[in-house]
Assembly symmetry: C2
Homo-oligomer: 323 residues x 2
Amino acid sequence: MNKIQGLLRDFELVLKDFELPKEPEQLYRPMSYTIGNGGKRMRPLLVLLGCKLFNEDLTNAMHPALGMELFHNFSLIHDDIMDQAPIRRGMPSVYKKWNSNVAILSGDAMVIKAYEELIMTDERVALPILKLFNTTAIEVCEGQQLDMDFELRDDVTIDAYLNMIRLKTAVLLAACLKIGAMIGGASEKDAQLLYDFGLNSGIAFQLQDDILDAYGESSKVGKQQGGDIISNKKTFLLLKAKQLVNNEDLSKLNHLINGNHNDQDKVSAVLDLYHKLDVRKLAEAEMWSFFNKGVSCLNQVEGSAEWKQVLLAFSTQLMHREH
Amino acid sequence: MNKIQGLLRDFELVLKDFELPKEPEQLYRPMSYTIGNGGKRMRPLLVLLGCKLFNEDLTNAMHPALGMELFHNFSLIHDDIMDQAPIRRGMPSVYKKWNSNVAILSGDAMVIKAYEELIMTDERVALPILKLFNTTAIEVCEGQQLDMDFELRDDVTIDAYLNMIRLKTAVLLAACLKIGAMIGGASEKDAQLLYDFGLNSGIAFQLQDDILDAYGESSKVGKQQGGDIISNKKTFLLLKAKQLVNNEDLSKLNHLINGNHNDQDKVSAVLDLYHKLDVRKLAEAEMWSFFNKGVSCLNQVEGSAEWKQVLLAFSTQLMHREH
């Protein structure tokens, strides 16, 4: 993973140079708070890796990489208000540390900053990149809306769920890779194959997130274990369980969902049911199926074999992550 | 005003062709609700007028004009949440008709749509336009943050207030004109002169807004008359009154501001004080001073004399508007 660490170091230098005005403080401090609060830097890494496959020189990719990280952080700031998520990366989320107004407006400013960084690149690719980014950003909004819609719906299918996570999570990862590839000078075909790799492995990544929410250790995940279960989130696990459950267990499950229970009791009762129905394994199988589909796209990309290997190792490691 | 009506008709055709997806409904319906809910279409008109000064052909200006209108509407949707303004153009604002989450996310999607439209133009100017737009959009956010900050501060000066309205309102109007001029092929010098006209007349326009809030008829303005007075908004009128007031009247004014009063009693008591101090006239003088400064910039622009006249007449009419 030394090459990944090298890219991360390069990116942190760009981040260090990224200066925000001091005033108005309530506008800019939440931005540096969020962007400085770590995270995996997965999106900028994907931009840089996408570029590296076709071009050793990352000069034109650094600012767009920052742009994608800024956009991702903007969406977290706004999502945390909408989802009422008080903790983000182990720290109070912006709307909780300040207030909702501050979170709305600093998020707005952050998305504009994302656009500023995104076009700091080779002029020949700036507009095509921007068009892909616009399409992607709208899809991310659609995904977030569907996610909220699903909370109120009882007819969510597994296909609808997969479509939602495709929009909410996967398209952005895919776009990061494709934008990097475009900057690196990839052919349209290779750029698209990389996009498809990102899309499928991105869906796998989100399925992994669902699994970790239910089965990960709270201290490693950085959020409450079983949070999805407590909030009745219609994850792949729950939807699969509902599909497979017998009548007797279904009424038990519905009782757990609709009743008023102690959080820990609820989590362990639902996990018992998941265990009985083997949904963890089924979710993992689905996850690997998407991931492998992605890898078969990556294999067809005609780029640096060495960097393809780095990208594959990085992605595979993410599939085995514990948080 | 026939030429203005012609431009408005052209713009309404572009608006009619602007199609949004049907689903997710909660994401897209608030967007069409807002954009379809009228308004003066001042920003798109300024883009078109800016272009007309240098080029009769508006083809490349229509989508950017729509982009500026979308951005303006996005900022209204989010500002209405932050300012808790339940009514917009005589209709429930988005957060009130739906809820805050819907208003946050549909606003987010709208700003991305604004970017999509903005770059649908001559490729040679798309990037320069975008850079100006990014700078402007950040300034608009700064203006909104300062506006909110001022609510909690007691040391707001008239200069600070003028700077706030410059950022919150005037830079966007100025950018509309300059973007139109850039599309029309203006020289950098002329484009900047037009920007300066927009900036100064934009400040004048906002001062007029403050005056109308206090003195306009509620039915024409489309919002509660005296709303600024009721909410103790630190407008030019209030700041000027505080500057001029004698000690006795100052304690009366502070009592009106800090005490618990019937809205109508408060408005009429504050208006009495304004009358005594002649602040309406002083605000109007300030407004005309900015407007005239703007006009002297417009006069130096080397563009179509006919369209300069249309722009001047349009702006002058806005200065005499009743809502």
